[in-house]
Symmetry: C2
Subunit: 436 residues, 2 copies
């Protein structure tokens, strides 16, 4: 088969951009052998021309003039690795209008301005490819769109932010406090110097927006996702949960039920035997449940220079082979007119819950608590109170059977108002994926 | 986007064929929504027209005349689910020559007659799609070919036969003997009534042939794979290994080293913390290591009516969108002229080993064993002998540091000839995937 030359423009020469350059330099021959494509960088555009980078470019390749890319008819694929949602959005739209297919790893852009970007692509007869936007090198976008295309997907549970998973792993396994674990994540380069997007759960919600649109074939509104991060997690709850057989993970969750699609990101307890509980450190994993295929799960490095660049190159290949355009054109939920997802109201979610109360140790307290829960048909599946705590304020942990979230919220409100309650109750959902 | 009608012929109306019919009946609208493809069964061909099946077909669809399919120009995609390597091969070649793209889940056919099938497809300008041939619904063929295309792959470790994994799980967790666990696997429908292809490792080797060709971009000769099944595994070794921190799995292994590509299937010990050690029952999983992406891993149901049918439908979609043909045409190692893999000779493999000897309990025995190992620079990393065994024949277990397999084989030969050795030594490789 004759080799096909593909001229590529890279916009944004940062960490992942450097990884992309490295792969194109080191593995060009290998990629040519495996795909018959000769991938060639024709432009590298960045406003900063002088910053030291881990890779060297041939003279003349790096410049700061996007117009040159737009005007270069030989460039058919442009890679947007600028980051952020403003400049990156304008650049992406310009590239599409100039007739380029765009590969991007920018989850914030696609989650927050996806409709505009995708509609522009359709109007221009071009496509946007974004394997690198979710879970770095883990080819989960392809798995959902293609490998599982025959399935009605009922649920997805993902550990999709490596920073948060690293922090929770350190807290769980080494008993570190949140602040210490966060600092370590920053020192190791997992967390940004401003880690807010990660620890507040926003980054996970960005990825969930994209993955859910693909999985359910419906447009998903980023703002409809309930998001809670790990920044308020207390070591005490990780310990109590662990003692009761559960590991804490920040999960991005999509569940289809009769009441609609529930999309949420929150710290969650999962049984220690669950495959997701074994995912530690900065790794990512997603469990997906389809009606034909049952349970499949995907594990790998969800971020970083080389894993993300690996996904970007995979997209460039799909674009160059023409597969990405056909697939994009046919995919609903990406700027194609269609129904928006019917969202399950938060209070209608059915889940088990971990509830920690801080109670005065005196007779009759359990009866008061039991009544509040029982009145709402919230049934307790297990309970834990240690001896030897100060009688003024004893932590008591309850695990419930499945209950309606609205009922639990109302119980928590009443529990907080009890005179014997000495601190705000802590409530963490226990997530139970379907049996296989 | 306008819907595209796709007329499909199914050849072989058995278990997976019934699963395919079920998906096309139940999920047609869903697939249309997600892909703009209207998938329609135009023919179902089987020599047995009367056997009861779990799905119902419209009148006239089922017949036994392949010629009608070959002559039907509206049929562009044919699905071969006949099984076996003779009739299935002839049918596949006829279908390709009649201008149909072929989707198959037949790993034996592709592993043993792949070159002929793939070359025919190329000559006819058609393609063969085979996601269902490896690990059922788990989209690992797509992950290797597309998601990881940018990577030089250094190693793959797969639990790719659910029957064997079920048997080993029952032996490990419940202390069952091999024969009992096998019988149970048959009763549960995991194993065929003739389970030889599974338990001898042949089925795993079939899958390894296909996956390695894709991963390394080189033609792989099925007969070059060293295969050992689980049919000789003894419960005693599973127990000793577990006690020393290792789980036994039947692994299909591909490792690239300076001495060439090592391809092998054998019972293996892996550390209990490894993600693959957590894979139990009939599930499959594959860990793949790429130079850019690092470690990624894929988990799911590797066989069965619905999971395999899920993969078959994914392939039909890829074929109908035209992606499969482009991808097939560009992929080396599938009947495209190119280099064959340089195979690492078995004796040159470097591995750790578990060795169990049955020794007379008398002074000087350890010295004799130690000398035989030491003479070949085989270093012991741990050792286990329980008290209270019969002095006539004591099981003694050694775990080695990495050693050359040829040296270990020669040591085993000499150990077997020792007068104090009362049974043939047992030797099981300890597999150590790369860090990360």
């Amino acid at each position: 088969m004759e080799a096909q030359r593909v001229k590529i423009a890279l916009i944004g020469f940062g960490t992942v951009g450097s990884g992309l350059v490295k792969i194109l330099q080191d593995n060009a021959e290998h990629i040519l052998h495996k795909t018959s494509l000769q991938l060639e960088l024709a432009h590298v555009v960045d406003k900063d021309l002088n910053r030291p980078r881990p890779v060297k470019l041939p003279k003349g390749l790096l410049h700061n003039d996007l117009e040159r890319v737009l005007a270069d008819k030989q460039v058919t694929v442009a890679v947007e690795l600028v980051g952020g949602t403003t400049t990156a959005g304008e650049i992406t739209i310009k590239l599409l209008r100039a007739g380029k297919d765009v590969v991007t790893a920018n989850k914030a852009l696609l989650a927050e301005r996806g409709r505009e970007i995708f509609e522009t692509a359709r109007q221009c007869g071009r496509c946007v490819a974004f394997e690198g936007s979710c879970c770095g090198g883990l080819p989960v976008v392809g798995a959902i769109r293609k490998g599982l295309a025959a399935n009605k997907i009922s649920a997805m549970y993902g550990i999709v932010n490596g920073t948060c998973n690293y922090i929770l792993t350190e807290m769980s396994k080494k008993g570190k406090e949140y602040a210490e674990a966060l600092q370590e994540a920053q020192q190791r380069g997992y967390a940004e110097s401003d880690p807010m997007l990660d620890v507040t759960g926003t980054d996970s919600a960005h990825k969930l927006t994209i993955l859910a649109a693909l999985a359910f074939g419906e447009e998903v509104d980023f703002n409809s996702i309930e998001v809670q991060g790990i920044d308020k997690v207390q070591l005490a709850d990780i310990r109590f949960g662990w003692e009761m057989g559960y590991a804490m993970k920040l999960l991005a969750i999509a569940e289809q039920s009769q009441k609609g699609l529930s999309l949420r990101v929150h710290p969650s307890f999962i049984t220690q035997e669950a495959p997701l509980a074994q995912v530690s450190g900065p790794f990512n994993a997603i469990s997906i449940f389809g009606d034909a295929v049952g349970h499949t799960s995907y594990y790998g490095q969800g971020a970083g220079m080389m894993p993300t660049a690996s996904a970007v190159v995979a997209d460039i290949i799909e674009v160059a082979q023409g597969n990405a355009l056909r697939c994009f054109a046919a995919t609903p939920g990406l700027g194609r007119p269609g129904k928006s997802a019917r969202i399950c109201p938060a209070e209608e979610i059915n889940s088990r819950f971990y509830i920690r109360l801080s109670l005065v140790d005196q007779p009759g307290v359990f009866a008061q608590v039991g009544k509040i829960l029982g009145d709402r048909a919230i049934s307790i599946s297990s309970c834990l109170q240690h001896e030897g705590e100060s009688p003024d304020c004893v932590p008591v942990v309850f695990m419930t059977h499945p209950a309606r979230k609205g009922d639990v919220d109302s119980a928590l409100k009443e529990l907080a108002q009890l005179e014997v309650s000495k601190a705000k109750p802590v409530c963490i959902p226990i997530v139970t994926p379907p049996e296989n």
